[in-house]
Symmetry: C2
Subunit: 366 residues, 2 copies
């Protein structure tokens, strides 16, 4: 790929270089797959990327020779390695003039690899870093936002086509089969995480994957899934009732729905992650279900389905303009079931924009 005017990857690499200067680093060794894709476009699973002020070098293996050239050739020099990416690093780094202090990604490098780097690369000063690229990734540009919107559209249409097929006697796995088929037919490049279809008592398990359990009349059914478009993820949850909802289901559903709506309307840039979380949590607590909302409110989505920022009660970092986050309050009661409603929300300069349009009112599948 030729480098083109306005290639967003060039702007990203330039911003990273400014960040390296601020951090007093001559170069950064990038082992995170998502960070590598963000900076270079390379989508393979095996690579090391080195960015200095003067160079961008992508080391990958034989399997990705053609793919590396197509995806990253415009912004990075490619090094194709037959045996070990790490051994190639020791031939690449000495060629980078003036590079003495090198950062590595402490949150994306295994202990064993960090040991190797420090021991084999004793002629450089190695410094653990955090979030140098992730902080850039929080602020989605227009192209990234379009990808996420496309991933949302695929997911919503797939769910719309699947809902009529949800019926008593079908297993959770059969529902997952149809939903995932539609996701792929509609162009989802991957399943960003294991589809959750959790029905009846299993819906009380916030992360239950689809099982052989047969759906029964009266079940709560949590459907949590996503799509990928242009490398970017969507992440959506809806909860249905099979048949007519009873009063307890309806009451809990309304509380979760209102918590979702309240938080989705109020997540503004500048707000701390803990304060965003508190909007939904306070609402649910005031309505008596605080003990049943055990996870945090949401997380960023983008090239990864879980990325910065986090909306949780321990997070002091403020939300940034341009982030896309999930808003996913839920309540879970052992032996009874669970309810979660999850939307994807862009934190725009003029306030939150909910990207998901699938109905949020209680849907009784009769």
């Amino acid at each position: 790929m030729q480098s083109v005017a306005g290639d967003p990857r060039e702007g990203r690499i330039a911003r990273l270089r400014a960040g390296l200067l601020s951090a007093g680093l001559d170069a950064l060794l990038i082992s995170s797959r998502a960070n590598t894709r963000y900076l270079t476009g390379f989508s393979g699973s095996s690579s090391l990327l080195v960015v200095s002020q003067a160079a961008t070098v992508l080391i990958t293996d034989f399997r990705y020779r053609a793919q590396g050239r197509v995806e990253a050739g415009g912004v990075a020099d490619l090094e194709i390695e037959g045996t070990s990416l790490w051994s190639r690093l020791w031939t690449v780094l000495p060629r980078l003039a003036g590079v003495s202090s090198v950062g590595f990604e402490s949150q994306h490098m295994l202990h064993v690899d960090a040991q190797r780097v420090v021991e084999s690369g004793a002629r450089w000063q190695w410094r653990p870093t955090a979030n140098l690229v992730e902080s850039l990734r929080q602020q989605k540009d227009a192209g990234e936002l379009e990808c996420i919107k496309a991933a949302v559209a695929i997911a919503e249409l797939a769910l719309e086509r699947t809902v009529p097929e949800i019926a008593a006697g079908r297993t959770e796995l059969e529902v997952a089969a149809r939903l995932e088929m539609w996701l792929r037919e509609l162009g989802s490049e991957a399943h960003p995480f294991e589809t959750i279809i959790a029905s009846g008592e299993r819906s009380a398990l916030p992360h239950a994957h689809a099982s052989r359990r047969e759906l029964q009349d009266g079940d709560l059914i949590i459907v949590d899934f996503g799509a990928v478009s242009g490398g970017y993820c969507s992440d959506i949850t809806r909860t249905f009732v099979l048949g007519r909802a009873n009063a307890a289901q309806r009451e809990a559903y309304d509380i979760v729905r209102e918590a979702n709506a309240t938080a989705s309307a109020a997540v503004w840039a500048g707000m701390r992650g803990r304060d965003a979380d508190a909007i939904a949590r306070d609402y649910i607590e005031r309505h008596g279900l605080g003990a049943e909302f055990g996870h945090s409110l949401g997380h960023g989505i983008g090239l990864e389905v879980h990325e910065a920022p986090r909306l949780a009660k321990t997070i002091d970092a403020p939300l940034m303009v341009g982030a896309v986050v999930t808003i996913e309050p839920g309540v879970y009661r052992d032996g009874w079931g669970g309810i979660r409603i999850e939307d994807d929300v862009w934190i725009g300069p003029d306030g939150p924009v909910v990207l998901t349009a699938f109905p949020r009112q209680l849907m009784e599948l009769v």
Copy 2:
């Protein structure tokens, strides 16, 4: 779950304890998800497991309270944490009498977490370890082998049902949609990796995922996918030709098929990983395509789709009785395409047993 006589998890924990004694460790901190599942049955995505001679303690978060009890209650004491698994570790460890040296999994712990452990846990001696649990996992017991066989059966039946739907004009994504639907309908608990449907020139990319490319007459089509049953994976590849194969396709196919068959019949316990790899590599080299076989021959499968052992030219470790490995030679030619044939093989006490039965002869889809 009550502990039952003959519970394989108890034997695994006992063998790990023997390994800890040999390694001079009082306890092991386990952060690998697959290792945790192997030892306790717990399948959640967020946990820390501590095993000492006297105790097995599983720390997990609120979301997995019910699931943790059901899956791991029989062999582990559960600690449910609302905020940070790591902070709970510092209340669990002091309760373990006589524990002073603690191993951690260097290959499964991020640098940032290892730093945290060493800094916050200064009253213990921390030692990086490798493969203490993985080495046990290589030798599958009868129950594990049954799970893998079930995962193979699901995958093969799904492929059988999908093949008649592969036709010119369909996109790779549409083929993936049908294949994945059948996998789920037939009970696969998850997709163990991103399904690869790579056609035409794209089949020269060994790890190309399904795209919007439309299949054309004359295409080579690589289909690489798997199923999960009881937590265990299968991993299978077949390469088809859409329409009639030409002479070059047929010639390369026969070389790959023969390399596959030769290696599958010859992977015996005790053989080094490099020697297993060499069986197929030498065959392909002798037939002039050595430069086109750029990846290694195979890898172990089990709770993970890539696990020990590795069958690669750098590996000196011998294959162990009871391992299940992939045998997946391939050739890739830029601009022309690629061919890969991958089977799952159990390395039994009396020699290799090929678990995959799907036909390996060249299948022309006409």
